[in-house]
């Protein structure tokens, strides 16, 4: 999936249609504007996804400045936040995703050491 960080695209928060494969990761990255932190986080998570989940993930980027209402609904406090909607359980991964190991643990792709 391609996302241009310069123009964060609005994606409806509803789950993707059921045509997705059952093991598809539905990820949503919430950022606030195009700060350095946002950009680093996006770069990092894209890299991690490409390396670990190639072909079986969906990543949406949402700028809360554009849609501040979502912050309450999604229980967002810290930014950037990556929410793993699917597969369950729901996980929130906060920070700039620079610690790859922690991200993998957060995505349940690696057992906690």
């Amino acid at each position: 999936m391609k996302t241009n960080p310069a123009e964060p695209k609005y994606t409806p928060p509803e789950p993707r249609p059921a045509k997705l494969k059952s093991d598809t990761f539905v990820l949503r990255l919430y950022v606030a504007g195009q700060t350095l932190k946002s950009l680093i986080a996006l770069t990092n998570i894209k890299k991690i996804c490409e390396e670990n989940l190639k072909g079986r993930y969906v990543l949406d980027v949402i700028d809360l400045y554009q849609q501040p209402r979502l912050a309450q609904g999604e229980q967002i406090i810290a930014l950037p936040t990556l929410i793993k909607k699917l597969p369950p359980p729901l996980r929130r991964i906060i920070g700039d995703m620079s610690n790859t190991e922690c991200v993998l643990v957060g995505l349940d792709l690696q057992m906690k050491v």
Partner: protein, 574 residues
Amino acid sequence: MTKARKQLPKAPTGIQGLDEITGGGLPKGRPTLICGSAGCGKTLLAMEFLVRGATQFNEPGVFMAFEETAKDLTQNVASLGFDLKNLIARKKIVLDFVYIERSEIQETGEYDLEGLFIRLGQAIDSIGAKRVVLDTIESLFAGLSNQLILRAELRRLFRWLKDKGVTAIITGESGVETLTRQGLEEYVSDCVIVLDHRVSDQVSSRRLRVVKYRGSTHGTNEYPFLIDEDGISVFPVTSLGLRHVASTQRIPSGVARLDTMLGGAGYYRGSSVLISGMAGTGKSSVAAHFAEATCRRGARVLYFAFEESPSQIMRNMLSIGIELSSWVQKGLLQFQATRPAFTGLEMHLTGMHKAINVFKPQVMIVDTLNNFVIGDNKIEVTSMLMRLMDYLKMKQITGLFTCLAEGGGGGVLEQTGVAISSLIDTWLLLRDIEIGGERNRGLVILKSRGMAHSNQIREFLLTDHGVELHDVYVGPQGVLTGSARLAQEAQEKAEKLTRQQETEHRQIVLGRKREALEAQIAAMSAEYEAQAAESMGIIGREQAQEVQLKQERVAMGLSRKADAKPGKQKGDSK
């Protein structure tokens, strides 16, 4: 110079008493920290601040809850009469529950709390909020582990709140050595209020203290407060001024002789009356008399009984001829009977305030004050009674309090167990007088402000038709009461009778003497009359003879043709 005195702009809380302590409310447009241990009422205080702001001061508010869900909060504060659902629907309040679950969160590097800012900003802008509550923001420390980031972000948050111009309340749990567990006072330093919930001698009481308030004067004491169905009430004891108007109207005490002792007219309306005395000296009876007399005048009486149940009081008073139940039925007399240990002092005080406001009595009776003293809380009891009495005076309600005197006797009787004597206007002391192997009751007026009152001890009798006051016997034998007085009186009566009989006897003797004398006088005067009559007869006859002699002499002269004038002769003959 007057400009320099201008106070900081303030946001009134609408909470009873708190605005008085803070001189108008919390600092407007600045954050205030409210801290205290669990269950001390932080959330409620913050919520009341928001609700009152929204309903009374047209300042909508945002409540950001970190601990309770919106549903729980709504239910919890509904018990205080706050209809959050309605306020939310009317866009007066926004409730936002911030859910932080550590197990769901994985930290992977640098982050900030911009999400919280966005949420808060969105909530504030959606209703134009002027007030914000963050309850309890310290929960963030439990959910997120990077303290450095959190502290930096909190600092930014409070600055941001100031920039937004909202009046904010931040709540925090009290820490071991700091005011809050995470040292929030470091960031929020304009106004800090500490709440405290302590239990002493099994009775709990809540306290509030304004630790600091930048740019404003404030009450610095610990003020008791309570939470009841109307929210929070703080009682600022020192801010109540002595400004009540004193009435000159007098109301009878129900005991005629007592009224006489009190300058002839009874108590002043709106004064505080204390009846103190040892156990069983008849304090409640005097109180019941007053209650009955007041009801008889058609005024209402509120009777707080802390020792007996209403029916027990009514039965006992019936034995001395005071009938109270009919006044209860007529709605003029209302009993409020509870055990003092049932609630804390503040609850009692508010309970009394409420009962007074609802029933609007002219007279309030508290029987007895001592029961409030549990353990070592005399200072609190005194300050509570002071507030109660001030309140009664403001409302022009006459308060009659009974108080059990402590100690065995003698000078100790002049002390009240609760140290309120200086607050009392009229103080009646009932005391035991022990003479001749019996105990009798005596009543004396220790003081009565603003009226000439008797300084005499009266013997106090409980009869089947109520309280009676008798003069005690004061004579060469000293002060006598009871049967000693009766004996002394009987003896005096006997002596008097004897004296009376003697006098009567003397009078009879005297009477007889007079009668004898009068008889003698009558006899002598009769004798005199007889002698006088005899003498007069002789005189009359002699005169007649002389006249005849003269006539004969004239006749003789005529016959001898004498030329002497008869007139001259007549004069000569005299």
